[in-house]
């Protein structure tokens, strides 16, 4: 029965998102961006031997997918606490961890659905407008790409829920989340380059420090694992791996996974660690009756 209650909350959370006009507007905008960027990207001449894979605009996806996660998670806990509904909910037969797990599962389901949908939009655009070929290799790589994108997006979802657990109101939560998004997805590389250049006088290509510091960004791990680029942020570090990520069809998927296993592990582990931290904070939180 207790586990059932997790699914009751999951169901409600997912339904709430689907009925939220703001979320639907964002989803429509996100889909339009994915469609437009794929359409534009598809018309370019590609070096890679797979037109389909090289036509997916990973940079655009890496930039906008976190926003969807933020919208899904920024008020997950604080909204319920502020409205007093958490007060009421916790008087019913379920534990606090059930509430948090249900909320995460509900939002994660939405993230998964949106990512799968956006992949369909990307591939569909390329199939319909450019008639690109889709083979077994591409399908496997797209599946791996979908999974990595999911973990990347869930990282931002966990950050959003974590902030939502810690702050006093939803506006603060949204502000902090947007600041973190801008920092990681837009400015991180440029800031890193500037700071390291000022402190050490080294450029991005020379500095080992930059490569090491990049490891704290989920965008770095995502970019490297998918297309072999160390940094996808604006004016960031322009370093590329020998293997162009899982999208590089000159190498087998196994070779790619062996090359980027560390990035993949970080992408999977980060949301799990964030969930544990959030779980502890939520359990210790005073919920005024």
């Amino acid at each position: 029965m207790k586990n059932n209650n997790v699914f009751v909350i999951t169901q409600k959370e997912a339904a709430d998102h689907l009925h939220n006009t703001g979320f639907l507007v964002l989803l429509a905008t996100y889909t339009a961006i994915i469609f437009a960027s794929t359409y534009m990207y598809g018309s370019l001449v590609h070096q890679n031997n797979s037109v389909l894979l090289s036509s997916i605009n990973v940079k655009m996806i890496s930039l906008f997918t976190p926003l969807v996660s933020i919208v899904l998670g920024f008020d997950a806990v604080v909204r319920e606490q502020k409205s007093g509904s958490l007060n009421v909910l916790l008087t019913h037969p379920l534990f606090r961890d059930n509430v948090l797990a249900g909320k995460f599962l509900g939002s994660m389901l939405m993230v998964a659905a949106i990512i799968v949908f956006s992949v369909f939009v990307s591939v569909g655009t390329l199939l319909i407008f450019y008639g690109v070929e889709v083979g077994y290799i591409e399908l496997i790589r797209i599946a791996a790409f979908t999974i990595l994108t999911f973990f990347y997006a869930v990282t931002f979802l966990e950050i959003a829920v974590l902030i939502s657990t810690m702050v006093k109101n939803a506006t603060d939560s949204l502000t902090y989340n947007i600041v973190i998004w801008i920092f990681i997805c837009v400015l991180f590389g440029a800031i890193l380059k500037t700071v390291v250049a000022i402190l050490t006088g080294q450029t991005a290509t020379e500095s080992v420090l930059i490569t090491q510091l990049l490891n704290i960004s989920p965008l770095h791990h995502y970019g490297e694992a998918v297309i072999g680029r160390a940094d996808l942020s604006f004016m960031g570090v322009n370093v590329e791996s020998t293997i162009g990520g899982i999208f590089d069809t000159e190498y087998t998927l196994t070779q790619c996974l062996v090359e980027f296993w560390m990035n993949i592990v970080v992408l999977i582990m980060t949301p799990i660690i964030l969930f544990i931290i959030d779980f502890i904070i939520f359990l210790r939180k005073d919920i005024t009756l």
């Binding site: 007093g84 509904s85 007060n87 916790l90 019913h92 037969p93 210790r284």
Partner: protein, 346 residues
């Protein structure tokens, strides 16, 4: 606040059984299962050095089927006690049982058999009354057919049939309170915890809420644990009352028990109107009655204070002095006055 949910912490509290035995031997508690709620030395301390004693050594017994009023000034420890009873806070010391379940080890059982209307109570304002109740009902695994019927019945009980498909976001304060009661009843609880159920609503709405609570208690035998600031409300609907301040239980019993307690401590106050002789003469006569501690003449009325009930003796003394008592009343102490007396005494 240094709080942590019960479910996340280890159980260190002494078992209810062993404490009950100890208290039975000391005569504090009676061995019986007639209680819906009982606490034994229940305490909650906050702060690094446990310097804030929100609830301090609370021993309570609430009989099954009664309406129990839990009153006290702000910060008295009412809500903290309620939180401990429904398993939202783990006691620092002591233990308790609700509906026969331990408040530390059997939290889920408690929540399955109790209903709670907290203050503040928020609902999912994007959902209708029916959808909200459906969500809460799902948490109890109630069969869909039973669930839907119960939702309709509950909303009818609280007078919200017309609002069944309205979003709760549009409800007035009174409607929200009544809806809160409906959500607390969704699992057909045997014990109902109500925290300030009429706060913020108009007198008519408050009376409707009180009638609802009384009716629930009368027709379904639901034990009600009511925390309130309204003495009028508590006096009207509660069988027994406990007064708490600074975390300590100051008094418990029926309103009459509390009156007796005050009488014992402060004596009895009578108001007399006398004919045939001047009040000063009547006062002189009353003064000599053993046990009379003070008298005063105000507004053509003789005010007499006595250590104990001396109604007959005073009447006799006035008659002996040649007077006729045309009005003889014991100064009625309502719960509000009793409450203030008890709090002042603490």
């Amino acid at each position: 606040m240094e709080s942590m949910s019960v479910e996340s912490m280890s159980v260190e509290s002494m078992s209810v059984e062993s404490m009950s035995m100890e208290l039975e031997q000391s005569g504090i508690l009676q061995e019986t299962d007639e209680f819906a709620i009982e606490t034994i030395h229940l305490s909650k301390f906050f702060g690094k050095e446990k310097q804030i004693r929100a609830v301090d050594n609370l021993n309570l017994q609430v009989k099954k089927g009664e309406v129990f009023g839990f009153v006290g000034p702000n910060g008295a420890g009412k809500t903290t006690t309620m939180k401990m009873l429904i398993g939202l806070l783990e006691p620092s010391e002591g233990s308790g049982k609700v509906a026969g379940f331990d408040i530390v080890r059997e939290v889920i059982n408690i929540r399955e058999t109790t209903g709670v209307l907290p203050e503040p109570a928020g609902f999912y304002d994007n959902l209708t009354a029916r959808q909200n109740l459906r969500f809460y009902a799902k948490l109890y695994n109630i069969e869909p057919g039973v669930r839907e019927k119960r939702i309709v019945n509950l909303l009818e009980t609280v007078g919200l049939t017309r609002a069944i498909d309205q979003k709760t976001g549009g409800f007035s304060t009174g409607m929200r309170k009544r809806f809160g009661l409906a959500q607390a009843l969704v699992n057909e609880p045997s014990v109902l915890f109500l925290d300030e159920p009429t706060s913020g609503i108009d007198p008519l709405g408050a009376q409707m809420m009180r009638d609802l609570i009384k009716e629930l208690n009368r027709s379904k035998g639901v034990t009600v644990f009511l925390s309130s600031h309204s003495m009028e409300e508590v006096e009207e609907i509660c069988d027994h009352i406990a007064i708490i301040a600074k975390g300590k239980l100051l008094a418990a019993g029926s309103v009459e028990d509390l009156r007796d307690m005050i009488r014992e401590k402060e004596g009895v106050h009578y108001l007399l109107e006398v004919q045939d002789i001047p009040l000063s003469e009547a006062a002189e006569a009353v003064k000599n009655v053993e046990g009379v501690t003070a008298f005063d003449i105000r507004d053509r009325t003789l005010h007499v204070s006595a250590k104990m009930k001396l109604r007959t003796e005073i009447a006799k003394a006035v008659k002996k002095a040649g007077g006729t008592v045309s009005m003889f009343e014991e100064e009625e102490m309502n719960l509000q006055k009793l409450f203030l007396k008890i709090i002042e005494g603490a």
